[in-house]
């Protein structure tokens, strides 16, 4: 009952004209970037973050979250029409979506993707609404050792699932921790790793690293080669986008499967929507009466992964909002955004900022409806984005990146830092280092060091405090188990196979 009252309050916030407008802008932009291969929600949120500084935090969060889940809708369009996933989470949608399009059912495939995204996205928000409050209450019992252990576990999970080489993932995470250490020490006045530059005393702004690594790194990587796929014709008219009753009936289990698996995977740090979509596709194929037809253009092969990757968004918001622990690069950027606005996601967030939490939850319901209504009739319009030439798009991204960084501090030094982190972003892509552990290490670095040092202050330097408390001990043991998994050949084969499938 309390949840319903709070949700009602949330709808009052979400339906305010200003919030409604920015929610629309967010989901529209999200769909547009989802359609564009090579530009993801993480890069977009990072680039647009500085432009939200003048907005009320609730409005800004609603817009940025709209970009996040809107991109999931958009990613399927290129997968189906071009056989090129707009987002990594849409890789698996190519398998059956593109085949459906080649069989003349492009409209139905796009329609199923939109309907499945809507159903699963709504289920994901429902899960967020029901799971977040009790988890936040549980989180209230956490002290520094538990927080440290939780962050270690989250990072371990991300490292486990971020790349084929765990060593590289760990090194990327350590690089993030190092960047986070730059500036004045948290507890003393020692300046660390500032290279004699006064501009580094306040540390490296997260926005610079995020834009450099995600936006510029992606663009430099894409500049390596030019090549455009052949787009299948875009179906015109709403009628041509609606699946048949038989197709919808075939998808009913896929809608449920995608919703549940996506949400559960979303709650786990590190797994992310790509893994959610693959697992959901695998389950759908395993229980299907005609598994041999998967890959030839079956509607369930579109519904399950598209549902999972949308439901995952609601799941990913749970640890972010209730414990302040992001599970992916995009949620790490959202966490940084919260911190920039002076908010601290964690167990007290729902109590202290009910407008923001419940407004966000309600806006996600509203946003999902907007996306369904928008997406079906506007698919031909969004598909036009694919015709935008790279040589027009990339200079725009360069400009937004510079403006995004300069707007935060008005400092040209920061623009030079952007040049450096752009090169780093390209290098880690080229050398096959995952970027998610780097960003998570950067975002969690300060908090992790603070929690560790506070724990040791509490225990007067005795490290046993980390393992003598049941919750932190359990989480640390889990972290060790996760990091040791690759040592077991069979577990590592499964992990590498899953990551290879993810492309």
């Amino acid at each position: 009952m309390e949840v319903l009252t709070s949700l009602g309050h949330g709808f009052a916030v979400a339906l305010e004209p200003l919030n409604l407008f920015w929610c629309f802008v967010g989901v529209f932009l999200g769909t547009a970037v989802g359609v564009m291969p090579g530009l993801g929600p993480a890069a977009t949120i990072a680039m647009l973050l500085p432009l939200t500084f003048n907005m009320p935090p609730t409005t800004a969060v609603i817009m940025l979250a709209g970009i996040y889940y809107g991109a999931k809708y958009g990613g399927s369009t290129t997968a189906i029409l071009l056989n090129v996933p707009g987002e990594s989470a849409s890789v698996v949608t190519c398998l059956d979506g593109y085949q459906m399009a080649r069989n003349g059912r492009a409209g139905a495939a796009l329609g199923i993707a939109a309907i499945s995204s809507f159903i699963a996205g709504t289920v994901g928000v429902l899960g967020l609404m029901l799971l977040a409050p009790p988890l936040a209450k549980f989180g209230l019992s956490f002290s520094s050792p538990e927080y440290f252990a939780l962050m270690v576990m989250g990072l371990a999970m991300v490292v486990l699932l971020a790349g084929k080489s765990m060593i590289k993932a760990l090194l990327a995470m350590l690089l993030g921790l190092w960047i986070a250490s730059m500036g004045i020490d948290l507890f003393s006045d020692a300046s660390r790793f500032t290279f004699g530059q006064s501009e580094l005393l306040d540390g490296v702004d997260f926005v610079i690293v995020a834009i450099g690594v995600f936006a510029l790194g992606e663009v430099f990587g894409n500049m390596e080669k030019r090549g455009e796929g052949t787009m299948l014709p875009v179906p015109k008219g709403l009628r041509n986008l609606l699946p048949t009753m038989a197709e919808l009936k075939a998808c009913r289990f896929a809608f449920l499967n995608g919703s549940i698996i996506g949400f559960i995977i979303g709650v786990l740090p590190g797994a992310g929507s790509t893994i959610a979509s693959f697992i959901s596709y695998g389950v759908e194929k395993a229980v299907s009466k005609h598994p041999e037809k998967f890959g030839t253009g079956v509607p369930e092969g579109v519904a399950a992964p598209e549902g999972a990757n949308n439901s995952e968004t609601g799941g990913a918001m749970v640890p972010l909002l209730t414990l302040g622990i992001p599970g992916s690069g995009t949620t790490a950027i959202l966490l940084a955004a919260f911190i920039l606005w002076g908010l601290r996601p964690g167990p007290l967030m729902i109590q202290e900022n009910p407008d923001l939490f419940w407004g966000l939850v309600a806006s996600m319901y509203v946003g999902n409806v907007m996306l369904l209504v928008l997406n079906l009739p506007l698919i031909p319009l969004f598909a036009q984005i694919l015709k935008l030439r790279e040589y027009i798009l990339y200079p725009i991204i360069f400009g937004i990146s510079i403006v995004g960084v300069y707007a935060v501090s008005g400092s040209l030094f920061d623009c030079w830092m952007l040049v450096v982190f752009g090169l780093l972003g390209y290098a880690i892509r080229r050398l096959d280092y995952p970027s998610a552990p780097l960003i998570l290490g950067l975002v969690l670095g300060d908090s992790m060091e603070r929690a560790l040092r506070q724990s040791l202050m509490m225990s007067q330097g005795d490290l046993a405090i980390l393992v003598s408390r049941p919750i932190s001990a359990t989480m640390l043991i889990l972290a060790i188990v996760l990091l040791c998994l690759p040592l077991f050949r069979r577990a590592n084969q499964w992990r590498v196979k899953a990551l290879e499938e993810n492309g």
């Binding site: 690089l175 020490d185 403006v403 096959d432």
Partner: protein, 154 residues
């Protein structure tokens, strides 16, 4: 052309990261490891610096000793294209102070369109002017952001 198994991305990046780890440890060594209140500013960096050195060495050794064929043929022309654009981006940032953002961005756009994508000068000029004008309208006029201005006042 076959390349030495010691000259490949993992070995080189591992060596660079090992050096960075050593630098982190050497810097952290100069700060207090612990104080009367608890761990000092050197405590955390020393440990992750050591971890970085150890993991980098493991990466270098494993990669260098692996008998498996080295990575796919390196796409040097592709890397050259990417690094050229990165250098152009750096020049754009350098030109922001003397010329202002809009002119610097227009020049970068001109370079990308004409040189990297081989479009005609007419197309390149149109895109460059359009891009700069768009930024002026959206960020300068509509959002009233304080952008680096050049001698012409924009």
């Amino acid at each position: 052309m076959a390349q030495s198994k010691w000259i490949k991305g993992d070995v080189i990046s591992g060596a660079v990261l090992a050096a960075l780890g050593a630098y982190i440890v050497s810097e952290a060594w100069r700060w207090d490891y612990s104080t009367a209140e608890g761990p000092g500013p050197g405590f955390f960096p020393i440990w992750y610096g050591i971890a970085m050195v150890v993991l980098s060495i493991v990466l270098v050794v494993r990669s260098g000793l692996s008998a498996a064929p080295a990575e796919k043929t390196v796409d040097w022309p592709g890397i050259g294209r990417a690094l050229t654009v990165w250098a152009a981006f750096a020049v754009c940032v350098a030109l922001m102070k003397p010329l202002g953002l809009l002119i610097a961005l227009a020049l970068l756009t001109l370079f990308v369109v004409a040189v990297m994508y081989g479009q005609s000068l007419k197309v390149a000029l149109a895109v460059a002017v359009g891009n700069a004008a768009g930024f002026y309208l959206v960020f300068g006029l509509a959002l009233q952001l304080n952008l680096p201005a050049g001698p012409l006042g924009f």
